[in-house]
Every structure is written in structure tokens, then in C-alpha cells.
């Protein structure tokens, strides 16, 4: 029987089987498993049925804890139920997992294994998460490749129904989960043949049913709990054999034979590596290579890790083994060793007493750690481990792949060692996220994988920024199966899709001799050589590269493709890579275009065809001269002025050499310096704003809305502008008390940090009266401005900051003259969240303590290499931490508890030291009002005065006081996060914290969707919007979080949208901070997940408010205390239909393309709901609180 070959990734392979073999999927998004749930949802939305003929229900929950609960309930009532998760999500499921196993319930959870947040969060792959569940009583089955994911998913499902032991089926996150591979797809017949209906019916019959009532979930006492726990033993004893039988049945049906432990290698091997997961593929590749060179090595793949069958394990190893290295992809600090190492040691120790033990004595067993957080694991490293095993005393508890110069655990390896086969195409493609390189490569893999006999593998690496991010695609094609689960180390094809990237990376360092190099450049084949740096010229000549250029940007423009160069570069790749003949490849590309765009009209297809033809016509091979005449100049990664840590560590990460940083270079406890984005000059904007002082009205709205703090005003004495750079622009400041030429106003753009989003130009209200197309800021190409503006920016940063007491913080103009302490983040171009975040830093930054929920804001706020949270001249600035996704409100409340406790304690100790400090000062400090910034600054001075005195005392009490004295100065606690946190996963905690009455400020950056994980619906998602898990438009309306908080009466609540009313936004932030209890600000934040032109984000905010889609209000309990109505409605009566807002957003317009009538229904219903909500708020705001 021939099966369909498909090129898919591991997540899709798992989702495919899970969807075929379940009735219910209760899920919650978490990287890198989200796609599994999304695939399942998409399958159901397409009406795909499971093997029993019904379309599975996919239910998105509010957290993984909730998903696990729903799964447990569905299982207990007899449905075949599954979920998909990873990392912290899996941890949240652990309590239910104990229950599910304790109740001997059949289910499989599919896990794309990922690191756990410890000293830092990481979204990448290792086994930390699954290893944390090994005591839950679940079976654990590992898949090492995409094909194995599909196979094991089915084996796990078939096993659990027979064995009644629940299973975790796992594979490596961001390797197997995201690696696109050509695999054989199991058919419905295969799946049906693997699962007997009687098992399914038995599972259902165990479900709870009032017709035959039972009770589960009893509370048991010391008398019986223990015995009850032991009842399950026979099931665990039987499970391994059931798995093996199921694997044998699978082999009969499908042909691929698996074992609980699969040995590969020499029959007489003396050295063996034991490993689980994707790394096993690379070990196998290396073993085969080493055996071919005469070495006696072998490897054991652990597939069934739980229940761990010692007998099967021991029997799988050849008796010749003398030295064993057990590799764990996790770390258990303080343990006797990592989990699998311990199991292996235990296994040998136990088996030695059994008659099946085939060894003479005990082999030497060492354990090692590798591959944490997707750290590369290569043949060179594996060779080093085998070499280590040759030693008399090999290093135990070693690490491989890093340089541990602190505990000296790491093994050295020879990075030049390779197992590459000559007949495998190995291509590296460097591009930008925005240019479609990855999409084109995924398409190429499909073309080659599904259209030819070749095996195909694609792996994609993204950088840590959301704007201007670079991507690297690793593509392998070959006649044989591809087992290389590591990045390409030597490529025979390299494509650079963006000329600027030549400067950023060494694009050719991985080129092997004779490789082909394709470069997209604006320069012709005759001009290009002279423009290349010497570094590249030398590599091209020395490695004898075949060098091609294409001006893809021009071809794209001329063929009507706009900025999309992906089709053009893809065509060039096919034309010169030699994988297929030129004619065949062009025919196949055109076939793919027809498939993609066929339903979108002839015009688009024709346009793409034309682009393909023009690509070939404009692709030229460069005659490589032998003269090296390029420049030697290299760009500094960070300026010389950067601090030492930034030079030594941060710069290395920026340069892509983070893998080389030794353990000693890393902070020991996850503590990193702030204010480092300023050193990373990314130069990603093609165009930047240019200021026209004569037109400018100095309103500072541009600075307010700038997502990256890249356009900033300052007002300084005219004297300060002496010796200013030649091109620096400044003009007399306008404002109360400012007249004439002193002081001067300057609006400076950080052109190297700007992302070119255009939001500032869009909001600029000032126009040249004689030429209305000229605003006070206008976009212009960045490159010609770069050098001059770099100098201007440096001068600008040295200009003195304004006296904070001299400006009105509660106005937009005033607030924007305050220094932002959040700058140049990696947030998306045109991000709607960061302007609010930046505003808080301007108003309260020097005393802010921030708790940040996991999500976009924790990524642009805390993803290495650089951190946007900054410091002022005095060194003060926000201090920031991210605990988890679900606990952020509680985490922030903890800050407040500390501050209050330490303040109280400090006051107590001051009291005891009153005689030394002076009663007057103690009283002044204790009784100080700190309701505004000048008062806080005064208090800061008083506390300084006090600590100066106390420092001289040198007594234990004095030391105690000094350690907490700073808390006498008011601190501003901010709890920030997105709607996924505030409305869903963290809502319970948020609710509790608001109810606590404690003085914390909560900022909800409401994008109305899970932005960071890619657009899944949340309870903030509005009615009718299409999101993941709401593919047909969300049927229910958005939760009114503000109204819920207001019900407590003592919570300050504001709903803001700066694009509609910026003054109200600034006032709300000031009031929230001033309020001595809990405050909640819900901030409308546009997002690329809305599918809008991000430059127009602020216009959308305005439309949102004008249509009453979004309501502006402030609820201030202080007013109630004064006998006034606490609610102030800041929105004007609606004057537009919600449609006028919504139809600018793809999230709404998609639905009109799927189901126009439903879309129309939602539009009308949303408009009605919006107007009703407005009326309701208007009535509440109109209630008289006056007792008369």
C-alpha cells in the first residue's frame, strides 16, 4: 500500500493523529505547542471528521490548568479527549495529571517539550517540562522525528486505551515541532486498524452516568489511602508489554518497527550513548559515520521512558558494552544526576541480580547534559562524548555544547568534525521576517518534497525582535532519509535576500568550497564586486564560490509585486541550485502559484507568473575577479562608550556569538543590567521622520505615540545649543513663560533606533499652510540621514533634561518633555502597547517597580540581548521582573507587601533611633505627604539626610534601618500585561489583588487577542472578530473588565485610547498613580493581529471611540469619598456606526468573505451593544451622588 507523502512539521503530525482519534480537544495556547491546537481547530472548522465519523470539538480554555480540568471532566464522562501543551502549561496540568492517572484514565497529551522558566524564560526545546511530570504516573513516549511523531502519537493512543495508563507523547519543541519534513501520512485505514472499537466502548463505559451512578474523588484516610495507591501496580507492570505489542501491530500494518528501546550500532560496541528525543537522530547519524570509520560504537534510543522497563532496557543493549554515556536534555540542580541517568544506573544495579543480565560486571556509566533550550547538538559534540568514553576516567555529570569555565563540567569538542554527506543539498537562506523568505522556503520544501523523490527538511531560525527581525532558513534535500537534527554547519548553497545583512552577519562563513552564493542586490553584476567588503571577496575567491546576483527589489517593483521579493528569490534558487532542471522547477513554481492564487483571480496569477519569468531574465552570474579591492572596515557591534558588560556579553549576543559565551560570562541569578537597547543600533527603518521646525506647533503628540521612543522633544536653555552639530535643528520654545529664542525647543529623531512605522507623521496635526501635504514631520529615506543624525542624536542625549517641576505632568505636552525610561524595544513596527508603557516610564519611571505578565510586553521588555527599560542621569529607573503568565497580579502585590512592610519597619526603627536622627526629621519623614512628585522628591532628600546620619552610627539597628530605609520614599508598583493575562489566565489573581485594596497600579494592554502566541481569541476578543479558535467570528461579546472592577467600589478604573483622547490618557495615568488603593487602566492597543495598517493605528482608536466600540471613562473612588459621582464618562455620544471602525480591520473583514450574512449580523449586533453600553455608562455617570 502506498501512502500519501506530505511535508509537514511535528506539530501538524501530532495534531493530525490526535484529531483523528479524539472527540474533544480542550486546549490553551503556549509556544511551541500552540500550532497543534490551531491545526486541530482548523481541521474541525474544515469539517474534518475523526475515524468514527464525527467532527471533534475544540475548546479553548482560560489556562492550561483550565484545559486540564476540562480534559479530566470530559474523560470522566467518557469522551476520548486530548490536549496539547508545553513547558509552564504542562506544569499547570500536573495536579490533574495525578488525578487522571490515579483514576486509570485513558488519554494522550501531546507535548512539544520546552524549557522551563528558571533564571529566565525560554521558549525553546528541552525536556525540563516533561521530566517534571515523571512522578505523575503517566506513560511517557518520546518521538525523535516528524515521522515518529505521527507514528508514536497513534501508538500512544492505541496503548492508553488498552493499558488504562495515560500517556504523554512528546517531541522536541522548536526542533521536531517546527521542523518541516517529508513524511508518510498514516491513512484512516491504518488508524482504524490500530484502535479496536471495543477499547473505545470500554473507555466510554467507564464514564460517569446517572443511569449507573458511581462516585470518584473520595477523600481517603490513613487507613486506606496507601493501599488504594498500590492498586494500580498491575497496570504499570503490564503497560510496557502492551506498548511493545502495539508497536509490533503497527509494524505489521505500516511497516515501521519500533521498540521500547531501539539499539543502533555495532553488534560488538564497547561504547554506547543512551538518549531520547530529536538528538537521537543526530547520534544515529554520527554512529553510522563512526562505524564506517571502524569504531565500535552504538546508541540506544529510549522511546518508552515511563513506565521504565528495566528488563527491556537491559536486553536491548549488546553485552559487549563497557562504557555508557546517558544524555539528559534537562537539569536537576542538586540531584544525584539527571533523571534518565539515574534510571539507567538504577536499572543496571537492579538487573545485575537478575538472570537476564548479560553483562560481565557493570559497564561504567556517566551522565551528561546537552541541548538545553535548543542548544545545538551536533555530530562534533557526539564524537567528543564517544571519545570521552575511551578515557579511563571519563568525566561524569558532564555538559556538552557549552564552555563551562566555572564548574568545568563541559567536554571539549572539535567544531570542524562533520558527518555531512556530499549528495545532500544544504542551503542557508538569510532574510528578513518581512520579506517572506521563510514562507517561500516552506513552499520550496513542499515543491521538492511532494513533487519529487527527494527527502526534504526545513528548519527556521528567528531572532528575538518583533520588528525588523532576521530569519535564517536551513534547508536540506537528498535521496536518503535526513537525520540531521542540527543547524547546517557547512552549506553548498547560500542565499542572502537582503543586502544589508552582509554587514550584520558573516553570511559566507558557513559556505563550503565550491558552494553557490545568491545575493539580492541593487547593484549590477559588474558593479557588485567593488562594493563587497574584502572579507566577502576573499571568501568568494578562496572558496571558489559560484556567485549570482539579482536585483529582486527592482524586479518586484516592475512586475507589480510591490515589496514582495519572495517569489523572485525562490525562482532564482530553483534556477541555480540544480535540484531540479530549470524548466521543471519553473513549471513547478508556476504550479504552486496557481494553487495558491488560483481562486484569487487571473490577474494575481498572471502577475506572479510574470515575476517568475522576469526573475530568470534578471539573474546574472558574476565573473569573479581574483583581485581583492574591498574595504577592510568593520562596523563596531556596540559603540565604544558602552559599559564593559555590554561590550563583553551583550555585544557578543548581538553579533550572533552568544553560543561562545562561557558560563563565567553569565549573570548567576538571572540579573541583567537595564538600559542596554541604546547600544544596539539596529538601523531597520527605510524611512524616518524629519522635523520641520517652522511648521511645528510643539504639541509633542508625535513623541507620545512613538512606540519606540525614537522621536523626542526637549526644551533647554539657548546656551546649551552652543557648539551644536551643523545639521541640528532647534527653534524657540513655545509655551507658557517661554517666548523668543530662549529656551530652545528641539525635536530629535533617533534614526538608528526608529522602525519607520509612520505613526508620528500620521498623528502630526501641523501642516504647512501653503502646502498641506507638508507636515511638521515627514518621512524621508534613512540612509542619507544616518551619519548626520547619529551625531545629532548624541548631542541631543547630552542636552540637559528639563526640570521635572517646571512642566505639567498631567498634560500631553508636559509629560512628553519628561525623559522616557523605556526606549528602543523590539516591539512590532507601530505597536499599540508600547506608547502606554513608555508613558508610565516618563511619569513615574524613577520610582517604578514592575511586575510584567508573560506575553508581548515581557518579550519586548525582557527578551535578550538588550533591555529597553532605562535609567535617568541619577541612575534611577524602573526595575522589572517577569514571574509567570498566570500570577502576575499576585507577583506585583508581593512587591507592595514588601514595600509596605519595610516602610513600616523602617519607621519603627527610626522611632528607636529618634535621639540620634532628631525627632523633627523623624516626624517629617514619618508624616510626609507624598501625593505628588515634588513631595516625593522632598521625601527623598529627607530620607537621604536621615541615612547620612544613620550611616555614621554603625550599630546593628542602624544597619538594619539602612537596608530598608529607601522604602520610606514612595514607590510606584505597576503590574502590566496583556488581555490574555488580565481577562483569562490571570483573572482570578487580578480580581483578588484588586479586591485587596492595596496600592498597586494595573495596566492592561488590551489588544483583544493573544498577540504573543499568534492571535488566539481571549475573553477580550470582540464579537464578530475572527481569531484563532474563533475562525467563524467570536459569537460572544467582550468581557467588561472595567465594570467588574468598579463593582468593588474602591478600585480606580480607567478605560483609555490615546489615539482618541490623549489628554484623558495622561490624566488617567496620573490619577491611577495618585490613588492610594488599587488602580486598573485598560488601554486600547492596536496590534498586527488586528490586520490593520499599523501607521493608522491611532485613527482606528479614534474610530473605536467615535463609534462607542470603545468607551473612555474614569472611575475614581476619591470622588465618591467627596460625595460626587465617581464615574466620569469621557467619550462623547457615538456619532459613527461600529462598521466604520471594524471594516478597516482584517479580523472583521475576513468574516465578510467567509459568511457575509453572519458578518453583517455581527456588525449590527456589535453596534447595538456598543450604543447600549454607552447609554448604560452615561446613565451611571449621570446619577447624582449629592444627598440633597
Amino acid at each position: 500500500m502506498t501512502r500519501k507523502m506530505v511535508t509537514i512539521d511535528g506539530n501538524e503530525a501530532a495534531a493530525y493523529i490526535a484529531h483523528k482519534t479524539n472527540e474533544i480537544c480542550a486546549i490553551y495556547p503556549i509556544t511551541p505547542s500552540s500550532n497543534m491546537g490551531e491545526h486541530a481547530d482548523a481541521f474541525s472548522a474544515q469539517g474534518r471528521k475523526n475515524i468514527w465519523g464525527t467532527v471533534p470539538t475544540v475548546e479553548e480554555m482560560q489556562s492550561e490548568g483550565g484545559a486540564a480540568g476540562a480534559v479530566h471532566g470530559a474523560l470522566q464522562t467518557g469522551a476520548l479527549t486530548t490536549t496539547f501543551t508545553a513547558s509552564q502549561g504542562l506544569l499547570l496540568m500536573i495536579p490533574n495529571m495525578y488525578k487522571i492517572a490515579g483514576e486509570l484514565t485513558s488519554t494522550v497529551f501531546h507535548v512539544s517539550a520546552r524549557s522551563l522558566a528558571a533564571q529566565a524564560l525560554s521558549i525553546f526545546g528541552d525536556h525540563s517540562d516533561v521530566m517534571s511530570t515523571r512522578s505523575t504516573g503517566w506513560g511517557m513516549l518520546a518521538a525523535n522525528s516528524v515521522q515518529e511523531v505521527m507514528d508514536s502519537a497513534l501508538i500512544a493512543q492505541a496503548t492508553t486505551l488498552q493499558a488504562r495508563v495515560p500517556f504523554i507523547h512528546f517531541f522536541d519543541g522548536f526542533r521536531t515541532s517546527h521542523e518541516v519534513m517529508k513524511i508518510e501520512q498514516l491513512s484512516d485505514d491504518d488508524i482504524k486498524a490500530m484502535i479496536d472499537d471495543e477499547w473505545v466502548i470500554a473507555h466510554r463505559s467507564r464514564g460517569m452516568n446517572p443511569n449507573s451512578p458511581v462516585l470518584r474523588g473520595t477523600a481517603q484516610n490513613p487507613d486506606v489511602y496507601f493501599q488504594g495507591r498500590e492498586t494500580v501496580n498491575p497496570y504499570y507492570e503490564a503497560a510496557p508489554e502492551i506498548v511493545q505489542k502495539t508497536m509490533d501491530r503497527f509494524a505489521k500494518i505500516v511497516g515501521r518497527q519500533y521498540h521500547l528501546f531501539d539499539y543502533v550500532g555495532a553488534e560488538d560496541a564497547d561504547r554506547v550513548i543512551i538518549i531520547m528525543g530529536s538528538g537521537a537522530e543526530t547520534v544515529e547519524e554520527t554512529v553510522n559515520h563512526m562505524i564506517a570509520q571502524g569504531e565500535k560504537v552504538g546508541m540506544l534510543k529510549v522511546r518508552l521512558f515511563r513506565p521504565f522497563s528495566i528488563k527491556h532496557f537491559i536486553s536491548a543493549l549488546p553485552a559487549s558494552v563497557k562504557q555508557i554515556a546517558v544524555l539528559d536534555r534537562t537539569k536537576e540542580p542538586g540531584g544525584a544526576g539527571e533523571p534518565m541517568y539515574q534510571d539507567v544506573v538504577t536499572a543496571f544495579s537492579e538487573a545485575a541480580l537478575e538472570d537476564y543480565y548479560q553483562f560481565e560486571g557493570t559497564p561504567r556509566i556517566i551522565g551528561g547534559r546537552y541541548g538545553l533550550s535548543s542548544k545545538e547538538f551536533t555530530p562534533a559534540m557526539i564524537k567528543a562524548i564517544y571519545d570521552e568514553l575511551l578515557k579511563d576516567k571519563p568525566k561524569n555529570h558532564f555538559t556538552i555544547g557549552i564552555n563551562d569555565d566555572v564548574s568545568h563540567t563541559s567536554l571539549d569538542y572539535d567544531p570542524e568534525y562533520r558527518t555531512d554527506k556530499g549528495d545532500v543539498f544544504r542551503g542557508l537562506f538569510y532574510g528578513l521576517g518581512a520579506d517572506g523568505t521563510v514562507g517561500a522556503n516552506k513552499n520550496s520544501i513542499k515543491i521538492i518534497g511532494e513533487g519529487t523523490e527527494n527527502y526534504a527538511q526545513g528548519h527556521f531560525v528567528y531572532d528575538s525582535k518583533k520588528s525588523g527581525s532576521t530569519t535564517t532558513s536551513h534547508l536540506r534535500f537528498g535521496k536518503g532519509k535526513i537525520q540531521s537534527t542540527y543547524l547546517i554547519e557547512k552549506a553548498n548553497f547560500i542565499a542572502c535576500h537582503q543586502y544589508e545583512l552582509l554587514e550584520q552577519f558573516d553570511i559566507l562563513d558557513k559556505a563550503e568550497d565550491g558552494a553557490t552564493f545568491l545575493l539580492n542586490s541593487h547593484l549590477s553584476k559588474d558593479e557588485i564586486w567593488g562594493d563587497l567588503s574584502r572579507k566577502y571577496q576573499k571568501q568568494i575567491v578562496d572558496k571558489k564560490l559560484k556567485f549570482y546576483v539579482i536585483d529582486a527589489v527592482t524586479v518586484a517593483k516592475e512586475t507589480g509585486m510591490g515589496m514582495r521579493i519572495n517569489t523572485i528569490m525562490q525562482t532564482c534558487f530553483f534556477a541555480i541550485s540544480g535540484i531540479l532542471s530549470k524548466e521543471e522547477s519553473i513549471a513547478k513554481i508556476k504550479g504552486a502559484i496557481k494553487k495558491t492564487y488560483g481562486n484569487k483571480g487571473e490577474a494575481i496569477v498572471e502577475k506572479n507568473f510574470h515575476a517568475v519569468d522576469q526573475s530568470v531574465a534578471n539573474l546574472f552570474q558574476v565573473d569573479v575577479p581574483s583581485t581583492l579591492n574591498g574595504s577592510d572596515a568593520t562596523r563596531l557591534i556596540v559603540p565604544e562608550a558602552a559599559p564593559e558588560f555590554v561590550q563583553k556579553v551583550t555585544a557578543e549576543i548581538i553579533a550572533g556569538r552568544g553560543d561562545d559565551i562561557p558560563v563565567s560570562g553569565m549573570p548567576i541569578d538571572g540579573t541583567w543590567p537595564t538600559a542596554t537597547t541604546q547600544w544596539e543600533k539596529r538601523n531597520i527603518a527605510l524611512e524616518v521622520p524629519v522635523w520641520e521646525p517652522d511648521v511645528c506647533i510643539q504639541c509633542n503628540k508625535c513623541a507620545l505615540v512613538c512606540p519606540h521612543a525614537a522621536i523626542r522633544p526637549k526644551v533647554a536653555d539657548a546656551d546649551a545649543f552652543k557648539d551644536s552639530p551643523e545639521t541640528l535643528k532647534h527653534i524657540g520654545a513655545k509655551g507658557k513663560g517661554w517666548e523668543g529664542d530662549d529656551p530652545q525647543y528641539i525635536l530629535q529623531v533617533a534614526v538608528e533606533d526608529c522602525t519607520g512605522c509612520n505613526v508620528c507623521v500620521e498623528v502630526c496635526p501641523a501642516r504647512d499652510k501653503s502646502n498641506l501635504s507638508r507636515k511638521a514631520i515627514n518621512m524621508a529615506p534613512q540612509r542619507p540621514l544616518r551619519d548626520a543624525e547619529r551625531v545629532n542624536w548624541d548631542f541631543f542625549t547630552e542636552l540637559p533634561e528639563i526640570d521635572r517641576a517646571a512642566v505639567k505632568h498631567e498634560t500631553v505636552k508636559g509629560a512628553q518633555l519628561l525623559q522616557p525610561l523605556f526606549e528602543f524595544s523590539g516591539a512590532c513596527v507601530g505597536c499599540g502597547e508600547t506608547p502606554y508603557v513608555k508613558l508610565t516610564s516618563q511619569l513615574f519611571g524613577d520610582r517604578m517597580v514592575i511586575a510584567n505578565a508573560t506575553g508581548c510586553s515581557s518579550i519586548y521588555g525582557g527578551n535578550l540581548p538588550t533591555t529597553p527599560w532605562a535609567t535617568n542621569k541619577a541612575g534611577r529607573g524602573p526595575t522589572w521582573n517577569n514571574s509567570l503568565f498566570e500570577d502576575n497580579a499576585e507577583f506585583g502585590l508581593g512587591y507592595r507587601l514588601t514595600i509596605d512592610k519595610h516602610k513600616e519597619h523602617a519607621a519603627e526603627m527610626m522611632g528607636l533611633l529618634k535621639d540620634d536622627i532628631g525627632a523633627e526629621l523623624v516626624d517629617a519623614i514619618t508624616n510626609a505627604s507624598q501625593s505628588n512628585e515634588p513631595e516625593i522628591f522632598e521625601q527623598r532628600a529627607r530620607v537621604k539626610q536621615m541615612t547620612d546620619i544613620v550611616e555614621k552610627l554603625d550599630t546593628p539597628l542602624a544597619k538594619q534601618l539602612l537596608s530598608v530605609a529607601d522604602n520610606l520614599v514612595k514607590k510606584s508598583v505597576w503590574i502590566m500585561g496583556g488581555d490574555g493575562w488580565a481577562y483569562d489566565i490571570g483573572y482570578g489573581g487580578l480580581d483578588h489583588v484588586l479586591a485587596s485594596g492595596k496600592n498597586v497600579n494595573v495596566l492592561v494592554l488590551d489588544t483583544e487577542v493573544y498577540s504573543n502566541t499568534g492571535g488566539q481569541k481571549s475573553k477580550a476578543t470582540p464579537m464578530g472578530a475572527v481569531a484563532k479558535f474563533a475562525a467563524g467570528g467570536k459569537p460572544s461579546g467582550k468581557k467588561d473588565l472595567g465594570m467588574m472592577a468598579m463593582s468593588y467600589k474602591n478600585v480606580y478604573v480607567a478605560s483609555v485610547a490615546m489615539g482618541s483622547n490623549d489628554a484623558q490618557t495622561v490624566r488617567a495615568f496620573m490619577e491611577a498613580e495618585a490613588y492610594e488603593g488599587p488602580s486598573l487602566i485598560i488601554a486600547y492597543s492596536q496590534c498586527i493581529a488586528h490586520g490593520i495598517d499599523m501607521a493608522k493605528g491611532m485613527d482606528q482608536q479614534k474610530l473605536a471611540v467615535d463609534s462607542a466600540y470603545w468607551t473612555l471613562y474614569r472611575y475614581n473612588p476619591m470622588l465618591a469619598a467627596e460625595g460626587k459621582n465617581p464615574l466620569k464618562l469621557d467619550s462623547k455620544p457615538p456619532k459613527k456606526h461600529v462598521r466604520e471602525y471594524a471594516l478597516n480591520e482584517t479580523r472583521f473583514t475576513i468574516l465578510s468573505r467567509i459568511d457575509p450574512e453572519l458578518s453583517e449580523h455581527y456588525m449590527e449586533a456589535s453596534d447595538k451593544a456598543a450604543k447600549e453600553k454607552y447609554e448604560y455608562y452615561a446613565k451611571l455617570a449621570a446619577i447624582s451622588y449629592d444627598e440633597d
Binding site: 509556544t31 472548522a45 492564487y597 484569487k600 498572471e606 502577475k607 474563533a1030 490586520g1091 482584517t1146 475576513i1150
Partner: protein, 334 residues
């Protein structure tokens, strides 16, 4: 049958044809028009821009930001095959065709010869009885001559006529150096009817926000004089059907235009303001007027006041201009 007319080969029970507007977008509204007596409808236009960009917009925003950051490789569900704008339109045409008995005339609106013209074939395949090509072009290129502009029109019409078998009308604007020559040229490339005229919506300036703003201006009854004049000039000299469009509000308007030479009179603004029942009313009023004035059929009066039949042809040409001004001066003595 007294009101029946023949328009580009289509036998119509009366000359009252709602032209392309939001009223002719969906089946339910068209049914109401049919029930009120419309003899045919011109469907809401499919625009060149919609065809060329239809999905590039949706696609752009659905693709935007994808494959850039590891956690969010996409932002929208992949569950559906989206109907593109044009496909949606085509499907709608088929639905309308199946739902009404009167002839339906599809409308394609464009100005540049290109791929969008392919849709003429798809509209025919979807069941359209006729096709109206609405060529709406505003020249702003200072090197483009009037001959170049006219060639656009003939190129488009000629291609479409070569590729479809249903009758094709051309809706044009009134501003040509020589409208009769243009009409002749269009006749030469096979146009079956001329629809006169297109309305150009001229943008206004918003003094508060200092922006140009779009505004729909509905026609008024006096607007019929422009098509009336030109139809009467062309009638009998070029051999195509004529549709008068712009300003038809009453039976009197229909009578005048028919006398000038129109085969059908198209309605939009009046229907928008007075509702679809207006068709019925006009129909009744026509009969009353014809009875009172002893006309047997509409056909009898068609073209009776055209330039070649007019009892006072001078008033239709330059003489009219001079006399109008002189009369005006005579009546306005300050």
C-alpha cells in the same frame, strides 16, 4: 406592451431600468425592484481595482508579521478558503440570475486595459444577460492626448466584444472633445449600447480638517438635460441602443428622454430617495400621459425629438446657448 422597448437586443417590458447602485447589489433588493416593475437591472459594479487588488489587501494583512517571530508565526486561523472579492461577485451574479426573471446586466468598472477584463467572460458564464462596461477615466497625465484617451475606450470595448457573446453597453462620461466621434468609434468596435452618462463625484475640501473629502451627490431632475441633449444628437446617426442615466425622477423625464431617443431610462437617485415603489408609479403615470396624449406606444415617440427629427434643431446646438443667455439678460434688468 405599450411600454415595451428593445435595449441592445434585450426585449424589455418597459424602459425603467435601475442602474448600478447599492440597490442592485443583493438578490433580495433586486427582487423588490422586479416586483415593482423594473424591466431589467444593472448590477452593482465590479471594479478594476477590486479585481486587481481584491486579495492583495486581505492577503497583505493576513501575511503581515508572519514568519518573523518564533512564537507568533501567524495571526489568523487557516481554517477557511476565503472567497475573493471578484469570485464573490461572480457567485452573487449567478445567485441573482437564478432568483429573478428579468434580464440582468452585469457591470464592470475600469479604465486601464488589463487582466480585469477577463472577468467579462466570467460574468457571462455566471449568467449575465448583458454587460455594461463602465469606463470611468479621469486623465491626469499631461502627455496623454485626447486620441490616447479615446483609444483606451475602444481598446477595452474591442477586447471585451471579442471575448463575450452577450451584448455589451458602454457607460461613458460627457467630456470628450468630440462625443459624436467617440460614439462612432465605439460603434465601430462593436458596442451594442451607449449609457449616458457616468456621474463623476467631485471631491470637496473639508475646511475644518483641511482634507479633500468624498461625497456622493445624488442626481436631480434637471440633470436629465445633459443626456437628453446628447442622445438626441446621436440618435439616428449612430446605430446603437441608448440608455439615459442621471436625473430620471418622473414619468415626464422618461417621456422626454424617450422622445430624445433613449431606449431605456435608468434610475438610481430617485429610487434611493423615494423607494422602489417609484417604478410602479412612473409606469402608471406614463400610461396616463400616453392616454391623455393619444400615444399608442413608447416606440411611437422614440427619437421623435432627436436632432434629425426635431421641429427646432437649432435649439439643440449652438444657437441654444446664445438664446439662453440673451433671454436671461432680458429677464434680469437690475
Amino acid at each position: 406592451m405599450r411600454l415595451s422597448t428593445k435595449y441592445m437586443g434585450l426585449e424589455l417590458k418597459n424602459p425603467l431600468v435601475p442602474s448600478a447602485s447599492p440597490l442592485t447589489e443583493k438578490l433580495d433588493k433586486i427582487k423588490v425592484l422586479e416586483d415593482n416593475g423594473a424591466s431589467a437591472v444593472v448590477l452593482f459594479s465590479l471594479f478594476e481595482e477590486q479585481i486587481e487588488q481584491a486579495d492583495s489587501n486581505l492577503e497583505h494583512f493576513m501575511d503581515y508579521g508572519t514568519d518573523s517571530y518564533a512564537e507568533s508565526l501567524s495571526f489568523f486561523p487557516k481554517a477557511h478558503e476565503f472567497m475573493s472579492g471578484p469570485e464573490d461577485y461572480i457567485e452573487n451574479v449567478a445567485k441573482i440570475k437564478a432568483g429573478v426573471d428579468i434580464p440582468i446586466i452585469a457591470s464592470l468598472n475600469g479604465a486601464t486595459p488589463g487582466g480585469w477584463m477577463e472577468y467579462a467572460k466570467k460574468l457571462e458564464a455566471a449568467g449575465a444577460d448583458g454587460l455594461e462596461l463602465n469606463i470611468h477615466y479621469l486623465p491626469v497625465d499631461f502627455n496623454e492626448t485626447s486620441a490616447d484617451v479615446e483609444k483606451r475606450y475602444t481598446d477595452i470595448v474591442s477586447w471585451v466584444k471579442d471575448n463575450v457573446n452577450i451584448p455589451v453597453s458602454v457607460k461613458i462620461g460627457p467630456r470628450f472633445s468630440s462625443l459624436p466621434a467617440v460614439a462612432k468609434a465605439l460603434e465601430g468596435v462593436g458596442a451594442d449600447a451607449l449609457v449616458m452618462f457616468n456621474r463623476f463625484y467631485h471631491p470637496d475640501i473639508d475646511l475644518e480638517n483641511l482634507e479633500t473629502k468624498r461625497q456622493i451627490q445624488l442626481s436631480q431632475a434637471r440633470d436629465i438635460r445633459l443626456p437628453m441633449r446628447w442622445i438626441s444628437i446621436l440618435r439616428g446617426n449612430v446605430h446603437m441602443s441608448f440608455a439615459a442615466s442621471g436625473g430620471v425622477h418622473s414619468a415626464h423625464d422618461v417621456l422626454k428622454l424617450t422622445m430624445a431617443g433613449a431606449d431605456v431610462t435608468m434610475l438610481t437617485s430617485a429610487l434611493m430617495t423615494q423607494g422602489p415603489e417609484l417604478i410602479k408609479k412612473i409606469e402608471e403615470d406614463l400610461i396616463v400621459w400616453m392616454d391623455e396624449n393619444e400615444y399608442k406606444s413608447l416606440e411611437q415617440m422614440k427619437g421623435s425629438m432627436s436632432l434629425i427629427h426635431s421641429p427646432s434643431p437649432k435649439t439643440l446646438v449652438r444657437d441654444n446657448y446664445m438664446r439662453t443667455l440673451l433671454d436671461f439678460q432680458a429677464n434680469n434688468k437690475f
